[in-house]
Symmetry: C2
Subunit: 393 residues, 2 copies
């Protein structure tokens, strides 16, 4: 008897990503593989670029997916824009600001940290102070949508401050893209990266990025070579650049790009504003249910991401047991806490195709069933009623 | 009317990769996405590691797929093993040795080049001379299967030489794995990387790697941090390491890993020796047809890779036109020349699922039809007969 194929269980994914992938996208991914230099494929690449420009609300020519997950997209921004000795102001209000610091330092830069409490947005006043105190800073880096806490920072304001102090901006939009407004051109963001497995509801593995002309100038005029060959945009552009003539750089992940194309077509057809409104509406419904049960959000109301809801775990409740019972009894995945918040919070994602009324009912129902069975201190039998008005409202 | 889905044409892929992907693998890829920390997914990861150990013929614990294409797998070897100032002997007999040099230098190392003609294997004598002349060299790096020329170098002998001179080895096996023997433990290779889209016949996007204990010691005892956060094996191991406890590092490309699992299951069930023999046999058949037509290989007979056949383009023949007619009239993709060989050779791949008798008949038939129609100087009407004895032999 030989080895067996792998047949995954059918889960509902309401963690911090991957989110549920629409069957249309899975089906697109399984279409026959063609060559990465096939003219038909190159045409599709052009469409992907155009669709990403729409998603990012930009006309940046250098807008494309990096052939690796979001953390490689992050790295592509830092290794291309940071030169040895460059000072970078990094805002940290969760796990991913810390990863930015790592990226700055491994790129030979100097990170100046601006700290905010985990669960809060980045404080623009602290950023302005740091910019004033460091007139030699070249770049401001921050996370718009902090996946570890569910807090959203004000990209528009932070980018204005950076420009005022002649800094480029690097913005983490991994959990933001498609779920909450991002306006790259209007806000004049210089470099931004995202992931496919969050509000785009695509399979994980690619990282959409976009770079402004200002960023591009810096990359073209570097004194030193980019330390990564794989992520050197001077080379990647030869393949993703415009025109029919494409230079081989690396072999693109063809089928993953079919999937991204389909996900972006679905976003375009829904309309960005409609997608943002859907994420907002479903957040309100989930919030009504969670709060009726007595669970509390860790992020102040006006700083919450609709697509990622972090709530405190009630006193005395066994975190891991709750999550494994949800998984085993209801095939429902919610997210654990990350970093300093491990064991303290659950992260409930309503991203992309996961942001649906039926998922909310499943999540609230399953959570109430498991917590009740475990004698947790929650209010019972009131969540569904509380959600009704949010659903109709 | 909204944006349209992308429906690729059905091609036969006989270039240097991607190769034809078996429908079983495409179907596996489209199974429902589950979480990257789901216990069921972690079990599958363990199977993937075991199957890769089989494919590489190794018991190396650190054997896994990097979440990005082969060029990132290459980079993972260099950024982890090369420290600033390290001297690395790099053999170049095609495009990919040049990429290794780039990787050494961007990692802060010093590359000592050993040059051989494009189309020839690496000359062990030159390597031994370089090792003697550079007693401070730390690493020997070479390409076992040079995808730009179709030449195979003798990994076993080169690794013996490296060990004799106390060097670690980095081996490029992108086009080799699954098509031609690789014996990581027997040959004592220290670091090896491959790709999924060649003889494994999987979709592109992942890079299987394996590292020996000796390599692992060097990585753990580095004086400087690895310059790439995404590829730092000290961190990646936290996710791919053994045991039930996995630390989040990056979001794994779930569905791509379903596909790789399926491809490796198929390889295991066929048996490595059988896969090697199939690639060898089909090469003999293709060779009989090509040579009967009068086309000549650029690689000496005893140095040829069975899975990648580079032949000179006959005098006066329009390279691009031939390839585009094959694509447009027969949906057949063959490879162009790369680097110094652009416009001079065609590269015909017989990799993985593409290595089938029916593909060879299509390729020879289509090539003869197009070249005849273009009045190219070839022998007509003899290829099929010439292949008969190779087919039955």
């Amino acid at each position: 008897m030989g080895m067996q194929s792998f047949n995954p269980p059918i889960r509902t994914l309401m963690g911090p990503g991957p989110s549920d992938v629409h069957p249309r996208i899975l089906e697109a991914m399984s279409r026959p593989t063609i060559g990465h230099l096939d003219p038909v494929f190159v045409e599709m690449m052009e469409e992907v670029k155009g669709l990403l420009q729409y998603a990012f609300q930009t006309e940046n020519v250098l807008t494309m997916p990096i052939s690796a997950p979001g953390s490689a997209g992050m790295e592509s921004c830092f290794v291309n824009l940071v030169e040895p000795g460059d000072k970078v102001i990094v805002c940290q209000n969760g796990v991913f600001g810390g990863r930015m610091k790592e990226n700055v330092e491994r790129s030979g830069g100097v990170a100046v940290m601006v700290q905010d409490a985990w669960g809060n947005a980045v404080d623009p006043q602290k950023v302005e102070d740091a910019l004033k105190a460091n007139p030699d800073a070249k770049i401001l880096a921050f996370v718009q949508a902090e996946t570890s806490t569910g807090a959203e920072s004000d990209s528009k304001t932070l980018c204005e401050l950076a420009r005022k102090h002649d800094c480029l901006t690097i913005v983490d939009a991994v959990t933001a893209l498609g779920g909450t407004p991002i306006k790259v051109d209007e806000w004049q963001i210089d470099a931004i990266y995202s992931g496919t497995q969050k509000c785009l509801s695509c399979t994980p593995g690619l990282s959409p990025v976009s770079f402004s002309e200002r960023a591009l100038d810096k990359i073209k005029n570097r004194k030193s070579k980019v330390q990564s060959w794989f992520l050197d945009l001077n080379l990647v552009m030869g393949y993703w650049g415009s025109g029919a003539k494409r230079a081989y750089h690396h072999t693109a992940p063809i089928n993953a790009l079919y999937a991204l194309h389909e996900a972006l077509v679905m976003l375009k057809n829904e309309g960005l504003e409609n997608a943002w409104a859907r994420h907002r509406k479903n957040h309100e419904v989930l919030k009504a249910g969670l709060e009726a049960m007595g669970l509390t959000f860790i992020v102040p109301e006006d700083q919450r991401l609709p697509q990622l809801n972090a709530v405190s775990i009630p006193e005395g409740v066994d975190d891991a047991l709750v999550r494994s019972r949800l998984l085993n009894e209801f095939n429902l995945e919610i997210g654990a806490g990350l970093g300093d918040l491990a064991g303290k919070v659950w992260r409930i994602g309503l991203m992309g195709h996961s942001s649906r009324a039926e998922n909310i009912l499943l999540c609230i129902g399953a959570l109430e069933a498991v917590l009740s069975d475990m004698q947790a201190p929650i209010n019972r039998g009131v969540a569904l009623g509380a959600m009704q008005s949010a659903i109709s409202g």
